[in-house]
């Protein structure tokens, strides 16, 4: 992959150099990640299907800046790649904050260089991790899963620290040796996820715990997809909040921003909760006093959710409508409000998971 990326980048550079040598203004065509090039399909999520192409041309000022930026970005990325060095988006931003780029490519803020990364992905046809710009390595997997990582080491994901195995930026290099879990539960919040581990639930109930820590990172989504491809049922457990709907939907369908990166969606994954009916008539119905009010930002998110392409089906919209009406949310920490003792907490977790895994995935624990 590294060689392939390098080859593509150099090909592009050569093509531009040749145009200049002929005395022509260089031009690049690429498929932009615009709405017209992105399809949403319920059963596969977002799909990048280029129909229209954009042109970067060296004869127009605005376009010329894009071209220079693209080439500069590629040159820095290749330099890192060849030297076995990675950089974050923030690093990439700082790579542009150099003296000689003042008045040209010196960025106003990181959004400028983040957009450049996406352009590089679109032009080169590879995710940024392939040219050494890694996402925050956020996300852990805990449970009876044996895998072989990039360096060739055999790792058991319930024997490498309190939170398990930290999912690397490019999980493609991982090979699964043995999977001993019945399902993996992807959990939005670190606190409840750690509690489940600390209470020994994964070992006892033969489940894996994936800790998302907020919105699932690209690497985490890729890793979940790999598990899903291995036939592991994926369950998603989040707060009941407008943001959490997006977190769950992103794991299932991928997002618009990374729609051009394949294999990030896990359409087989199931959103198990917290659902509105859990609060209204189910598991938490006696604990409505522990709900939190929506903040203005939460409410705004709920209003925006009405228009998000991946939240259009009846289920998501019904869930979202609840926020607009009740102006409340339930957080996973509600389990704490329900359990005066640790013993009780474990019982509640197990009870809830048993009920949900059975209901949504037909798995009994």
């Amino acid at each position: 992959m590294k060689e392939e990326v390098r080859r593509r980048a150099l090909e592009l550079a050569k093509r531009i150099a040749e145009a200049i040598e002929r005395g022509e203004f260089p031009e690049i065509e690429y498929p932009p990640n615009s709405q017209s090039n992105i399809e949403f399909l319920e059963d596969v999520g977002y799909v990048f299907k280029p129909k229209t192409y954009s042109r970067i041309t060296g004869s127009r000022i605005k376009s010329l800046k894009t071209l220079a930026g693209l080439l500069y970005g590629i040159s820095r990325a290749l330099d890192h790649l060849e030297n076995g060095l990675t950089m974050t988006k923030r690093d990439f931003y700082y790579v542009h904050k150099v003296e000689k780029l003042k008045g040209t490519l010196f960025p106003e803020d990181q959004r400028e260089t983040d957009a450049r990364i996406i352009l590089m992905e679109l032009v080169l046809g590879y995710p940024r991790e392939a040219f050494s710009i890694t996402s925050d390595p956020r996300g852990w997997i805990y449970g009876d899963i044996e895998l072989i990582d990039k360096s060739g080491r055999l790792i058991r994901a319930d024997q490498v620290g309190e939170m398990g195995y930290s999912v690397p930026p490019r999980p493609e290099n991982i090979k699964f040796k043995r999977i001993g879990v019945k399902a993996v539960i992807a959990i939005e919040k670190v606190g409840p996820a750690k509690n489940m581990i600390e209470l020994g639930i994964p070992e006892e109930k033969k489940i894996g715990i994936a800790i998302l820590q907020g919105q699932a990172s690209r690497s985490m989504r890729r890793f979940l997809r790999m598990l899903s491809d291995e036939g592991v049922p994926i369950a998603i457990l989040t707060d009941l909040s407008p943001w959490s709907l997006r977190i769950a939907a992103t794991v299932i369908y991928n997002s618009i921003n990374s729609a051009h990166i394949p294999h990030l969606a896990s359409p087989e994954a199931r959103f198990i909760g917290i659902l509105t009916r859990d609060v209204e008539e189910g598991f938490f119905k006696d604990y409505q006093f522990a709900l939190e009010p929506l903040t203005p930002a939460d409410l705004k998110a709920a209003q925006d959710n009405v228009y998000l392409p991946n939240l259009q089906n009846e289920f998501w919209q019904r869930e979202n409508q609840w926020f607009l009406e009740k102006k409340k949310k339930a957080e996973l920490e509600i389990f704490k409000a329900m359990s005066p003792t640790a013993r009780k907490l474990k019982d509640l977790f197990v009870e809830y998971l048993r009920m949900k895994l059975d209901e949504h995935l037909g798995i009994s624990i």
Binding site: A13, I16, F25, G58, L67, A68, L71, Y72, I74, S75
Partner: protein, 524 residues
Amino acid sequence: MADKVELEEISASDFFYRNKSLAGFDNPVRATYTIVRELVENALDAAEMKGVPPKILISVEEESREGPLSEGLPWYKITVADNGIGLKPDDIPKAFGRVFVSSKYRLMQSRGTFGLGGTMALLYGQITTNKPFRITSAREGEPAYEITMMIDIKRNEPKILQKRILRGISRNSFTIVESHFEGNYGRARRKIVEYLHQTAIVVPYADILFIEPDGNVYFFPKSTEELPKRPKESLFHPKGVDLELLQRMVEITNTRNMKSFLTKHFQRVGEKTAREVLKLAGIPEDKKPSELTKEEILALFRALRSYKKFLPPDPSVLAPLGEKLFEEGIKKELLPEFVKAVQRPPSVYEANPFIVEVAIAYGGALKPTGEIQLYRYANKIPLLYDVSSDVSYHVIKKIDWTNYGLKSPEEEPVAFFVHIVSTKVPFKTVGKEFIANVPEVAREIELGLRICARELRIYLNRKRRKELMRKRYEIFKMYYQIIAEVLTELVGRRPPIEKLLTKVAGEAGINDEGGSEEESSGAG
């Protein structure tokens, strides 16, 4: 009773003495400025009358006070010398020693704002210091006479104290006026210098040298030898006289009947017109002018006013500067990058012919000041007071300058110039410092300014486009240098971006080949 109304007869000098403020002598600061201005205008008129580029020397020196009051404002000696036509020795006392009620019996445009020339300035000096003034003058090829004199205020007569013939024949004509006055130069200084600077704009063919009391020298050199066309003298237009003037004309005419009175003393009046006017007034054609009653004079005045068929007045009495000279003067004093002057065709308001000349200057040494920069002139005299009351100011305020590529006249390096020449400038007040909002005048100013503004817009568009193309080229250069550097790193050789840059430079009309040479050494 009505017949027996007795008017106290006072001399014109006396009148002036009692009404100093009318003529701009109301306080020592204003008086200092007015004295300089009146004498300079006389000097310029004298030179222009001769038809030579004026050379004017002005010096103001402080001197010690004399007489019983040793304390008070400082005294000054002012000397103004010109290369004008010069005066015969007998004319000197007449020209400087008496205040004429109206020296403008005939019609010709000259500067003299008040028709009283510098005499008032000299009189003011005499009143405040009780010192005589001195005129030295020579006509070409004649000896020079030096006359020391005073004005007898009560009798309105010159009083010669000393008269000398200077030895030798003078090859060139000249006049030197020396006078003493009590004033305040320190506070008048700014206005005086501004006045001379603005005068230099409108008289670009004059050399003006000014020496201040502390020895500072201001020199406004001429930038051209060319003089504007001399105005012609002409008769009054029948609608341009007032009752008092008509009365005087009737008194002193030597014509024998009313028909010839009208045809001889007025322009645009032939036999037929005269007959019709007299019929309208109910005055027999062969009546002797000297026998007209007061009622008949009034009837004649009314007939002249109401008669509809006079041709418009003859504009050849007017002496505009001309577009070329106006631009010349503006360029020389203000160094703008753009200037356009427009002379409007002659026009008429209330039977007074007038010509409006306007100009707009932009950029160069001009800087935005946050205010409208407006230079106003009436018969080549700069108007320095009450700018915001002037008709030109209102016209400029009314125009939407964004249509002409200017944000606002206050925020741009732009200056406006309005010159009105007329036998009767429509001043709003007795102070004669700003022009009234006469619709005919306002219209001409606006039309003229709009023509200049259109030229300015064309200039600015061209300039801005050029700047834009230049900037575009600079941006291309910067980005292609980055591209060249990156490609050198990736491909191993530096692509010849100069080819492309030459293309862009060509589009921008820039000759900048090899402009990126410095880049090639580090990269290869």
